[in-house]
């Protein structure tokens, strides 16, 4: 089943990706062929099969003790930030 341009526009919006008008046909075509390719799965019988999210059985999410063990490294980590003021990340106005 091929994807339409509207499908791809909607997906790109959900994924927060800007796609230019020139790029759009290429993505529509390549995403359609990928989706067609993986559609083979729909023809597989998976009745009664449990989905597998993790490759190893018997794993569980480990928790650690609820104690402070990290130090404040904000200054070091913010060195990579595009825009910082007073230790805060700066972005265009969100609230009108």
């Amino acid at each position: 089943m091929s994807l339409t341009r509207q499908d791809v526009e909607k997906i790109a919006h959900l994924a927060r990706l800007s796609i230019t008008a020139q790029e759009m046909p290429v993505y529509v075509s390549s995403l359609s062929s990928i989706v067609d390719f993986v559609d083979e799965l729909s023809r597989t019988d998976t009745e009664g099969v449990l989905p597998m999210a993790h490759p190893l059985d018997g794993q569980h999410q480990r928790l650690r003790a609820d104690v402070v063990s990290e130090s404040d490294t904000r200054e070091k980590y913010q060195l990579n930030a595009p825009a910082v003021t007073a230790g805060l990340y700066v972005v265009p106005r969100v609230i009108e």
Partner: protein, 485 residues
Amino acid sequence: MLHNLFIGELADRLGKREISSVELTRHFLGRIERLNPALNAFITLTADQALSSAAAADARLGSGERGPLLGIPLIHKDIFCTDGVKTTCGSRMLDNFIAPYDATVVARLKGAGTVMLGKSNMDEFAMGSSNETSYYGPVKNPWDTAKVPGGSSGGSAAATAARLTPLATGTDTGGSIRQPAALTGVTGLKPTYGRVSRYGMIAFASSLDQAGVFARSAGDAAAALQVMAGFDPRDSTSVDVPVPDYSQTLGRPLKGMKIGLLREFFEGLEPRNAALLEDALNIYTGLGCETREVSLPHLPLSVPTYYVVAPAECSSNLSRFDGVRYGYRCENPKDLMDLYKRSRGEGFGAEVKRRIMTGTYVLSAGYFDAYYLKAQKARRLITDDFRAAFEQVDLVIGPTTPTPAFDIGAKMNDPVLMYLNDIYTIGANLAGLPGVSVPCGFVDRLPMGLQLIGPHFAEAKLLNAAHQYQQATDWHTHAPPGYES
């Protein structure tokens, strides 16, 4: 020549103080300067830091300390965070990113005294099988610079093959260590999922990613894995299983080892590839192994399953790149939505965007059950097939790739054609199994690899089988023309 020696031999000379780590490092830096421009295997070179690390290693050696990797140069795939050093993941999105910490893999290898020569080129965000999607340009295969080295760890593979480094780290999510190892004629090891920490390794697909190593022999790979492997509390998927002494069991006789020929791998195999595998099987039976056919009937589902699961996971992992806290930010964003969309639209390349969108689609309302849940069920079927096979055999054998290295540009217009390069490697990632590729001959004067896959945590057995093969053959000693000296 120093660059043709194995790591054990280098460590021996360092230990006898016949050479210093500084001399060894200068030797490799000199080769990189001379030979890398034709290969484009590096994104960042760290010559000054390398020389100071080498001096520090020499001081440790001088005080009497010894270790299998002490003073040995290596390179890290640019997917591993390296404190104070640019870490780009092959992407414009992180072109300006200086990692503020070391990945666990980096820290452990550093602690063992390795000397980092630089960060290697890779497919963008580890998505690719040819190292053609890198923002920094394609990597060339040293065996024929019109050909790809494979991917996504193409830089690490090419540099190891060209003897620009004795050791290189890589990552393998769908074959990204094993496939380029095969195409460049080196040994590439992907450990069991959870064996090596993913802390500090930029995430692509969290249930598939695994760090591993490139070297020119199983023995060298064993020395590196010894240091890299082990429980890490900072990786919630790290498994707390003891790390055996991989080097100690390398030389164990293979008599009685049962090796499974995967029927689905041998079906439709190109005749010259099949002939190389036949030769390898004869070597193994000569070493005392029993071979028998095994079937993994759901294995043909591997590639479509992977291309649902991996994009889904990547769409989630790459949502952190939003132009806000680090990485590329577009110019003059008019509002927050524009900031997100254009930072991501401009910062990511086409393959990455394709996979993010594929993932977004298969996870979206109305499609989640049909695609993602379905793929997770197929994943279980594939994993169960492997489990059943390992009840009958110790290891499974097959080709690593369907063909030798292809021309740069040959498959870039057809994503599905590119995806089929991973047909033999992907199953092991879906099932979390360890796999190794070793050189097994040539087709059209280009290297080919044979692949061994084992059950969970069977790295010692894999390395043993690979090592014994390399004692009985010399494919792994061949250097690309022009790179021996």
